[in-house]
Subunit: 368 residues, 2 copies
Amino acid sequence: MKDVAIVGIGKTRFGAFADRDLRSLAAESVENALSDAGIGPDAVEAFYLGNFAGPSFTGQSHLAPYVSAAAGIVGVPATRYEAACASSGAAFHAAWQAVRHGIYETVAVCGVEKMTCQATPRVAEILAMAGDVAADGTFPEIFAAIARRHMELYGTTREQMAAVAVKNHANGATNPYAHLRKVITLEQALAGKVIAEPLTLFDCSLVSDGAAAVILSSRQGRVRVLGCAQTSDHVGLREKAEITHLPSIESAAKKAFAMARLTPADVDFAEVHDCFTIAEILAVEELGFCKKGDGGPWSVAQPIPINRSGGLKSKGHPVGATGVAQIADVGLQLRGEATGWQVAKADIGLAQNLGGSGATSVVTLLSR
Amino acid sequence: MKDVAIVGIGKTRFGAFADRDLRSLAAESVENALSDAGIGPDAVEAFYLGNFAGPSFTGQSHLAPYVSAAAGIVGVPATRYEAACASSGAAFHAAWQAVRHGIYETVAVCGVEKMTCQATPRVAEILAMAGDVAADGTFPEIFAAIARRHMELYGTTREQMAAVAVKNHANGATNPYAHLRKVITLEQALAGKVIAEPLTLFDCSLVSDGAAAVILSSRQGRVRVLGCAQTSDHVGLREKAEITHLPSIESAAKKAFAMARLTPADVDFAEVHDCFTIAEILAVEELGFCKKGDGGPWSVAQPIPINRSGGLKSKGHPVGATGVAQIADVGLQLRGEATGWQVAKADIGLAQNLGGSGATSVVTLLSR
């Protein structure tokens, strides 16, 4: 097996861009990544696109060749990967496997979502398709149920969840690529409009447009992929033994750590999937940063930087872009290029991407 | 690199099934394939789902774990692959690469589409998303333009296209898993309702429900995968130099033949992507069975059996299922199990799956 490096990183800003379509965002990120890698589109042997709901939001399907051709990549395998909110995590995982096992030397992975569009009024309905439509409700309702149960079992408080929002907003305010660069206070977060009890508007991530891309290579590079694991679980909430435990995250983390020969104590910082504040609290538990139930107080104490980019909460959550964007942001930190939002110690970083309420998980470990 | 075998084949009937949902069709095909392979779901190390428009047709996304869990496959990577009408061809290609390069020993690939549903009145609009929505029309319009140009350049006739329909209907009438088991005459085909001049209803494939699955393994099996290649091209018709030439098919075929160390003359029979009769005529040219422009007369002469299953025209075209269904049907022929529709000589078979108007192509060569 070969060592895999990220040799190019490209991003667009995240935001609500009335004048941008999905293809131009995705192509911009790929062109930036190619330019960062110092290679042309002809060097790309396969194109992996992560996208959740492009057809529903934009009315266009067959998006992988639609995007790759716009970036000058024509002829090679070009496929769209869909695994709900972990779509580009899944695309990255497949691409990483392919380079690691010598199928290709150089590939491009792009994640994209264009959510502000004519279909935006149906956004809750479109996002709900990532869960069991016949059995579960909207995602705020699903994560509200998880939050209530976590509060009941472990004494997690609304203040702890609000603290996650305050932290991520403060972080995102320093990231020039973040969607909502706005500092908020704990009082504001607690006084937010209730979306689904106990979650307020400030517990929920954003509806964003954006794209991110990376170039993977078996050549040497400044960012190394030490391990990457993808796992799955039932889609429906009622099929989980305990809704505050998402075993797909735990098992993906264990596999990724085993590949990298590392433990959670070795990680300097992480980008985790805070689609809701409670999801960040769950994630740090399942990843092994603290023990089960301690995610609330651990998040307040913040022993290592979590979501220094601003996370899905402030950086934004263009669903299909998120997995690759997390990895791109970890890569920028490892290169020391997170200007204005650089973490102090950046030798080993982790990215965790969640699909739906845990039916897909992807965990990736990266180092300088 | 390892030899890859198809060790299990599972299919559902194709048809319009008011009482069946996407999940039950897909799970049935996977369970049949596992049973045929003589293994349980625990033996599956990764699950590859090909599906074009499940979210648009059924309102459910995140379909890979949604389906795999129903078939008892939980925990492993489960991802949906989308490449328009070549979605399950792309899923198969990725799965084959993974087994060939030693990433996994045993994987399941499933293709599924549920097209008869509440969204069926919008079927032309949903299918059109496989092309360039902003620039091109519906698929009958796209292939009608290709047909007119092929008639103009090469003298291809309406009778030759109708003959493809007559042949595929006669073939499908003998396949118990086919959707429309109805023999038609040349006169009927020529007198069909015009959908887009010169294509009549009988030149168009069906709107179907159905699923197909195969188990791939690096262990020995009765069906060997000799080569498989996926290629891409521009999505929009106007970006093609000549609309009667689909270079993605030609290059995928050349790559697959090179891997298999075979030539078109070695192929005993093929399942090709006859979404329209003209598409079958184009396919036999691009695959190298005859020279460019001779697809019409070659199809009438039929030197080797093409679409002995009935093809998309009579067997049916549940879009996301088609790529794996073609491979499954070639596999059944190679095993001598196409009872009632067995071809006489079945040592080497080819499957060709097309996405949209050629932005994705997958060509697979199989042998006993």
